[in-house]
């Protein structure tokens, strides 16, 4: 009793139990580590994240709807702009879906060329991922090295398609133009020393104790939960689930190539890193096979109604001229039906669901974007994480906001 009398009201306020409140933290939309315009609303108890709510839509451009009012050829240009880090993969998925509706037979040389370019795309996309992920965690040098190598691939794209990123190179029935004469030499030159470059990245990160501390055991995806959320791609394979569409449902001739599907064990950030590094090596292997065994023969499908004729024919071939005008004005009619074509994009299962009503414009195109599913699995797996680990977690699932918002 005596003690209580001595305590002044001021003391009890200062020395009583510390009252804490949960804090709502807005991460983004202009946060450098959210890789685009993503906003995460974090509920925090001290340093720990109790809930994380992704807010998306800042990049919404209505691409899917827009595709309905364009002919099949014109709609292709929109696909690059979804996942701008892997334009060729996006083209490929769409083109394969339309080709399946049309029942087009694609020459073997073209299929191999597509594989080669799709794998180069995977390498350059993983390089961007590795660089920015390293940068998020404070490893600036890796970023510079990765972008140096990526630049070489983009230069190849620029020469083969005309621009670095929005390539629109794969077309229904083939490719936009024949590759320039030195194309294969350029690829060979780049690929010849690429494995050493990957060794360098690994030397900087894999055994680095700081990097390991920040990634080991962080944001673990248990395999069943990851499957339940529809996570695909390297993020899923890091949890040890052997699911790669290139193996499960081979498309565009992947069945002819020898490669392994790297798997992780723990499903943490470190494993996702290791899986992507191993994937780059496998992509390198596929590219080398494609270069060595590149078949000869025609590049374009033999369907004059879909594939524009070579320009030199227009001068003397009336029929070719008519086809040329038809393709560029009205487009081509695609038989009514619907098709779902999935491919393994660098981020996971990229699916195109195309419905045709028989007209030259798609009735509906629905895109299954891998980043979208991967992002919304994040809240469950980051519950209780430290706010500093959020950065590593977001970086490790490799999202592209253009694809999520479309």
């Amino acid at each position: 009793m005596v003690q209580e009398a001595q305590k002044s009201p001021l003391d009890s306020d200062l020395l009583g139990p510390i009252r804490t409140e949960s804090l709502t933290l807005n991460m983004g939309p202009q946060h450098p580590s959210t890789h685009g315009v993503l906003r995460l609303v974090l509920e925090m108890e001290g340093e720990n994240v109790t809930s994380c709510k992704p807010v998306i839509g800042y990049l919404h451009t209505g691409i899917e709807k827009n595709m309905e009012v364009k002919t099949y050829n014109k709609a292709l240009t929109m696909t690059d702009r979804m996942d701008y880090l892997a334009p060729m993969s996006n083209n490929l998925g769409y083109v394969l879906a339309v080709e399946r509706l049309l029942g087009l037979e694609i020459p073997r040389r073209c299929r191999w060329l597509r594989v080669l370019l799709a794998e180069l795309t995977r390498i350059q996309s993983h390089l961007v991922w590795l660089g920015t992920h390293g940068l998020d965690l404070g490893a600036m040098t890796v970023f510079l090295y990765c972008f140096r190598e990526r630049e070489v691939i983009l230069k190849i794209f620029e020469k083969v398609a005309g621009v670095r990123m929005m390539t629109s190179y794969f077309r229904v029935g083939g490719v936009a133009r024949t590759p320039y004469p030195e194309f294969f030499d350029d690829c060979r030159r780049f690929l010849s020393d690429f494995p050493e470059r990957v060794d360098e990245y690994e030397e900087l990160l894999t055994d680095n104790p700081i990097y390991r501390r920040r990634t080991e055991g962080v944001c673990v995806f248990p395999a069943e939960r990851a499957l339940a959320w529809g996570v695909t791609g390297p993020s899923l394979r890091a949890s040890g689930v052997d699911y790669d569409i290139r193996k499960k449902e081979p498309y565009t001739g992947y069945e002819e190539f020898q490669f392994e599907v790297p798997l992780g064990r723990n499903g943490d950030v470190l494993d996702r890193y290791l899986v992507r590094i191993a994937e780059m090596r496998q992509s390198h292997r596929i590219c080398m096979q494609a270069l060595e065994g590149m078949p000869e023969g025609p590049l374009m499908a033999a369907d004059p109604k879909v594939v524009p004729p070579p320009k030199e024919q227009l001068a003397h071939d009336m029929e070719a001229l008519i086809h040329h005008f038809k393709i560029f004005t009205e487009g081509y009619h695609v038989p009514a039906g619907e098709v779902y074509q999935a491919i393994e994009s660098p981020r996971g299962e990229l699916g195109y669901y195309v419905i045709s009503d028989g007209s030259p414009k798609p009735y509906k195109v629905k895109v299954r974007a891998p980043s979208f599913a991967n992002l919304f699995a994040l809240p469950e797996f980051t519950r209780g994480a430290l706010v500093g680990d959020m950065v590593a977690a977001i970086g490790s699932i490799d999202i592209v906001l253009g694809e999520i918002d479309r």
């Binding site: 240009t77 040098t141 005309g162 320009k311 001068a315």
Partner: protein, 159 residues
């Protein structure tokens, strides 16, 4: 622990002896490749006549509808182009253009091509509406890179 960090630093140090890859952009410029998709050009024949025959195929092929063409009959005494018609109005909204190259692919006479130019800033939006006088080259020979592109694609030639 220190050993791993030292290994990383050693690698960085080794890189400082390698040749540089950075291009000091405004002072140094990279050559654009042959098939680059940059600012449009309307080409002429060797004799100075315009290639464009006003068929509007480019405008039909454009995914974003940014080309506007109006055609008129050629005056037989002083023809503008080699066909029956020519483009009296030819406008491209370069702000809307996505540089896909579809117009170039569609053009049956190789009149519209995408050039090597990629620096075309303006201080007003209206100035991005390129009219025919901005696009038309005076002599195709002045643009050897476009000439090469034209030969490479083996475009239709009028006799």
């Amino acid at each position: 622990m220190l050993a791993e960090i030292a290994r990383g630093l050693w690698l960085t140090l080794k890189h400082s002896w390698r040749s540089r890859v950075t291009v000091q952009y405004p002072d140094e410029r990279e050559e654009m490749p042959k098939g680059y998709r940059g600012l449009h050009k309307l080409l002429r024949w060797e004799d100075g006549l315009e290639r464009c025959v006003g068929c509007k195929l480019c405008s039909a092929a454009c995914p974003v509808d940014c080309i506007f063409v109006e055609s008129a009959e050629n005056d037989p005494a002083r023809p503008t182009s080699k066909g029956e018609r020519y483009a009296s109005v030819y406008e491209i909204n370069e702000l809307r253009c996505i540089f896909c190259g579809y117009c170039e692919e569609a053009c049956p006479v190789g009149a519209i091509v995408l050039g090597n130019e990629y620096e075309f800033c303006q201080d007003h939006r209206d100035k991005f509406l390129y009219a025919k006088r901005d696009l038309l080259v005076r002599r195709t020979e002045d643009y050897p890179e476009l000439k090469a592109r034209y030969d490479e694609k083996r475009l239709l030639t009028y006799v």
